[in-house]
């Protein structure tokens, strides 16, 4: 029985692979695959290279995503800080600075930053296209999505965003700010992607 099940799974996998082989990957297809995901968890390491600092700011922690709009970034090092995005509401909770609840509508710029990751994870191509012009390089084993803000105001702050990954996993998010700041967040899988 077990062997049978394994074989059936293999067949399915092969047929999926056959489909992929048939056509090259594009943004729509990638988003279509992401939109199937219900939840994902991972750990991250982020480095921020800021003009105002002599040394990069390093932080590590965990990431939790649940479709369609919930994203949680739990910073463990250097200091415990929890960032929860639920729909339009961003909650920033830290031991030092207290709890703060923001509406993304009040901070359009913040929305642009956050939507790059969330819309990608949700496979929400409409929202993504509304804020950014998108290009995709590579194949399903290794792809890189480049996002360039459409809005001039946003462009004054964010120059471009690189999101790269494999299959339905976002492995790295690199944000290039217009004034020279840059941040790189690498994410490794921790638990299942469903």
């Amino acid at each position: 029985m077990r062997i049978l099940a394994m074989m059936m799974l293999l067949c399915v996998a092969q047929s999926v692979r056959a489909e992929e082989g048939g056509a090259s990957l594009n943004v729509a297809k990638l988003m279509q695959r992401f939109s199937q995901i219900q939840s994902a968890e991972g750990t991250f390491v982020e480095k921020k290279y800021l003009r105002i600092l002599n040394t990069p700011l390093k932080s590590t922690g965990t990431l939790i995503y649940r479709a369609p709009g919930y994203l949680e970034k739990h910073i463990l090092v250097p200091k415990n800080q929890n960032l929860i995005l639920d729909g339009d509401t961003l909650t920033i909770d830290s031991l030092v600075n207290g709890k703060r609840v923001l509406s993304l509508q009040d901070y359009p710029l913040l929305g642009a930053f956050i939507e790059s990751i969330r819309s990608t994870l949700a496979g929400d191509i409409t929202t993504l296209n509304k804020i950014y012009s998108t290009t995709l390089e590579g194949d399903i084993k290794h792809w890189r999505l480049t996002l360039i803000p459409r809005d001039e105001k946003t462009l004054e702050v964010v120059r471009k965003i690189h999101i790269s990954g494999h299959d339905v996993w976002v492995a790295e998010v690199e944000i290039f700010e217009t004034k020279g700041d840059r941040s790189v967040m690498t994410v490794s899988q921790n638990g299942k992607v469903q």
Binding site: K48, R51, L53, T55, P78, S94, V96, R100, Q105, L109
Partner: protein, 774 residues
């Protein structure tokens, strides 16, 4: 000669009244519901409802077009209104609104921030806030923080912005506020004029309307869009308009109908005009008396008072319809005067209870009615007879009279069924569970329910907080009251931390007292010291050197900058807040601190009183205003009962027979019971307006029953009397019946109550009172 004396006195009186009225101010605000010796809480509440910030709000919705178009319309309308001096605040969610505030907060951050202390700029203080900033750089706020960090490492701006969080904000779409369902673009306007200044509110509404129409006409795709407005001022304008329009329109129709009837009856335009003399002079005298007695006349008084026309017209009818060739006006008056006089005295008794009421509105109504009735009956008694053409006689009275008498003779047979019916109705009213009174705020409000629903909807859409609790503290001068506000703020901050309440607002968050501003300025270190402290604090932190040069400059500047005064807030939302929460009163100043999410108002009050010695009250707006209106209704009911008792005493003193008193009173009591039952059975509950209506039923109806009760000399005399009652009754029913077509709940309630009541009063008088001619 004597007739001329009466005429001259009357004319002089009319002229004086007109002069007084021309100088009279008319009010329409809540002050009518204010007791004459109000508690401090009530005074503050009424002040707030009259011209507080809540009274100056206009909520605007633009709907019935696609969202993109609605957003453009919202921007267009707001742009026009921002230049209009009628408005102190125009908010539609655009960033324009925020920029000015942001600049003000930034420039004055060291004067405004309650966190400023010398400790904050010490090595350890700076080190701690820089550490916090490092953490914030790890949050999504990073790019925003970097813009302000070089000038504000101690985080004053963030501290200030944190204070304003928790204040509800509406949804935003395409850069402007939208309702939650995305169907309406929302604007929130603050008028310069107070809520009780209805003319100013009307100008503001017209400005909104014309801004909307101009914007809508710019593009054809806007054509379908509609504008909606609500708010306390808007309600005042609507209800004034509807009362005015209805009163004018319906009075006009009523006068036309009554005049037609009287013209057919009198067949003399001159007599018709004469018949209006008592009414007009009574109303003029009533208004003038209230104006002299109270300094102003309330709209409600006018609304109620004008309905007294119904009784005033009757006096002329009683006189004219009973005059014949043989029976001169003088003789007729001699005959009916005792009854007429008793009728008037009865009505006056009823209304005099109102005169002694502790509420301005009721007292005005009492004075108006009493003066009006006295003058109307005096005009009938002493002015009309000499003006009536000689040989005047009402013709149809004789033929109509004999037909009428057949009905009247038959009527007493219905005595038992009617008494049974009334007894059943009385039993129903007494035994049914619950009260017949509707004491909800809405029932007192002269605003149609659909407008109230729209208001609630728009408030929800805007997430406009329902201000229920506020702390009000008063002092002799502005500086003192601001310092009190600061002391209260300290206590409230602790209570927020302890979870007693969610948050609060205060004038001093935007405009601190001079004392506190100076203290904060003094707490700022000298530049050399802050430079030294900063360098030490930065020792183990990764911030680039020289980054905080703007901070050093700003601190140096803040140390010498002029203190923040009210003028420097001009044109910002901060100014609007300060104007709302810092109020110049008749005596001294008041600071208002609205509270959010109050768990236990009493505990908060007790806690504040332990730490705070200056005058302070915690006002529960909802409870206090409901209580005030309830007291008002209760007092009106109590005074009406006293009035009814006074009427019985008066009748007994005059009639000298308990049986006759019962005879006269029974039809009135029956009419009141039956009308009340009709209201309850048809699913209504009674408001204060119905109560006033019932009082009028007794006043008008007492004339009927007294005339029925009067000893008559002949069958002919009785026929004439009764037909005069029928005509008087028809005119009353026409006048008040028409009011029941009004959209205004006030006019509607009074109109239908009196029309029904007068009809039943006459019918029951005919059935229940049997007097054979002598």
């Amino acid at each position: 000669m004597r007739r001329y004396v009466a005429l001259v006195i009357w004319l002089t009186l009319v002229v004086i009244c007109v002069l007084v009225i021309s100088r009279t101010t008319f009010t329409t605000d809540m002050s009518a519901f204010l007791p004459r010796s109000p508690t401090p809480k009530q005074e503050i509440l009424v002040e707030q409802l009259r011209d507080g910030v809540v009274s100056r709000l206009i909520l605007v919705a633009i709907e019935d077009a696609p969202p993109a178009e609605l957003a453009q319309l919202s921007k267009g309308v707001a742009a026009q209104l921002r230049n209009n001096p009628e408005f102190t605040g125009v908010n539609n969610g655009e960033q324009i609104d925020v920029q000015k505030d942001f600049d003000l907060l930034w420039k004055n951050r060291y004067l405004l921030s309650a966190a400023v202390s010398s400790e904050r700029f010490s090595v350890s203080g700076l080190h701690a806030s820089l550490q916090n900033n490092l953490e914030l750089l790890n949050s999504p706020m990073s790019s925003m923080l970097q813009q302000v960090l070089p000038g504000d490492p101690s985080g004053e701006l963030i501290y200030l912005l944190n204070q304003f969080e928790g204040q509800a904000r509406p949804n935003r779409q395409d850069g402007v506020w939208f309702s939650r369902d995305g169907k309406r673009a929302m604007l929130l306007l603050h008028t310069r004029g107070a809520g009780h200044d209805i003319d100013a509110q009307e100008r503001a509404m017209r400005a909104v309307n014309s801004a909307f129409v101009t914007t809508r006409n710019l593009q054809p795709k806007f054509a379908s869009a509609k504008l909606r407005m609500t708010g306390p001022g808007v309600f005042s304008v609507y209800s004034r308009d509807s009362i005015r329009d209805d009163a004018w329109r319906l009075s006009f129709i009523a006068i036309l109908l009554v005049a037609t009837m009287l013209l057919l009856l009198y067949r003399s335009p001159r007599v018709l005009v004469l018949g209006l003399f008592p009414v007009v002079s009574g109303a003029l005298a009533g208004i003038a008396a209230v104006s002299l007695g109270f300094g102003s006349v309330h709209g409600i008084t006018l609304g109620f008072g004008v309905t007294l026309i119904g009784e005033g017209v009757d006096y002329g009818i009683y006189l004219f319809t009973q005059v014949t060739k043989e029976m001169t006006p003088k003789l007729t008056l001699q005959r009916i005067w005792p009854t007429l006089r008793l009728g008037v005295l009865t009505s006056i008794c009823g209304f005099s209870a109102m005169l002694f009421s502790g509420f301005t509105g009721l007292a005005q109504l009492g004075l108006f009615s009493i003066t009006g009735l006295l003058i109307a009956v005096s005009t009938t008694r002493w002015v009309l007879p000499s003006l009536l053409p000689s040989g005047f006689e009402v013709h149809p009275a004789t033929r109509f009279g004999s037909e009428l008498m057949k009905v009247v003779h038959f009527a007493p047979r219905l005595r038992s069924p009617v008494l049974l019916l009334v007894a059943l109705a009385a039993a129903f009213l007494v035994l049914r569970p619950g009260t017949v009174w509707n004491d909800s705020l809405a029932s007192m409000s002269p605003i149609p329910p659909k407008d109230i629903r729209l208001d609630e909807q728009l408030r929800r859409d805007l997430g406009a907080p329902d201000v229920r609790y506020m702390i009000v503290s008063s002092a002799d001068d502005q500086e003192q009251v601001l310092q009190q506000s600061e002391a209260l703020t300290e206590i409230l901050r602790k209570q927020v931390q302890q979870g007693e309440l969610d948050g609060f607002d205060a004038p001093t968050l935007y405009f601190p007292s001079r004392k506190v501003q100076q203290e904060r300025q003094a707490a700022l270190p000298e530049i050399a010291e802050v430079q030294k402290n900063l360098n030490e604090a930065l020792h183990d932190l990764p911030f680039r050197s020289g980054l905080f040069a703007p901070f050093l400059q700003d601190i140096a500047q803040a140390k010498q900058q002029g203190l923040l005064d009210k003028a420097s807030l001009k044109g910002s939302n901060l100014e609007m807040k300060v104007d709302s929460y810092l109020i110049k009163r008749a005596h001294g100043w008041a600071a208002i601190l609205p509270l959010r999410g109050v768990k236990d108002a009493q505990a908060i009050t007790a806690d504040i009183q332990r730490h705070f010695a200056a005058p302070m009250v915690l006002l529960d707006v909802k409870q206090e205003s409901e209580q005030m209106l309830l007291d008002y209704r209760r007092e009106a009911a109590k005074n009406s009962t006293l009035g009814a008792l006074a009427i019985f005493v008066l009748l007994y003193l005059n009639l000298r027979s308990l049986r006759r008193v019962v005879d006269v009173a029974l039809p009135l009591i029956a009419a009141v019971i039956v009308v009340t039952t009709i209201w309850i059975v048809t699913g209504h509950s009674l408001s204060i307006f119905h109560l006033i209506g019932l009082l009028l039923v007794v006043a008008v109806g007492s004339n009927y029953s007294l005339f029925f009760d009067r000893k008559v000399e002949s069958e002919q005399d009785q026929a004439r009397t009764i037909s005069s009652l029928v005509f008087a009754n028809i005119s009353t029913m026409l006048g008040f019946g028409l009011l029941s077509f009004s959209h205004s709940p006030v006019l509607n309630a009074i109109g239908s109550t009196v029309a029904f009541g007068a009809m039943f009063g006459l019918i029951f008088s005919a059935i229940l009172i049997v007097r054979k001619p002598a």
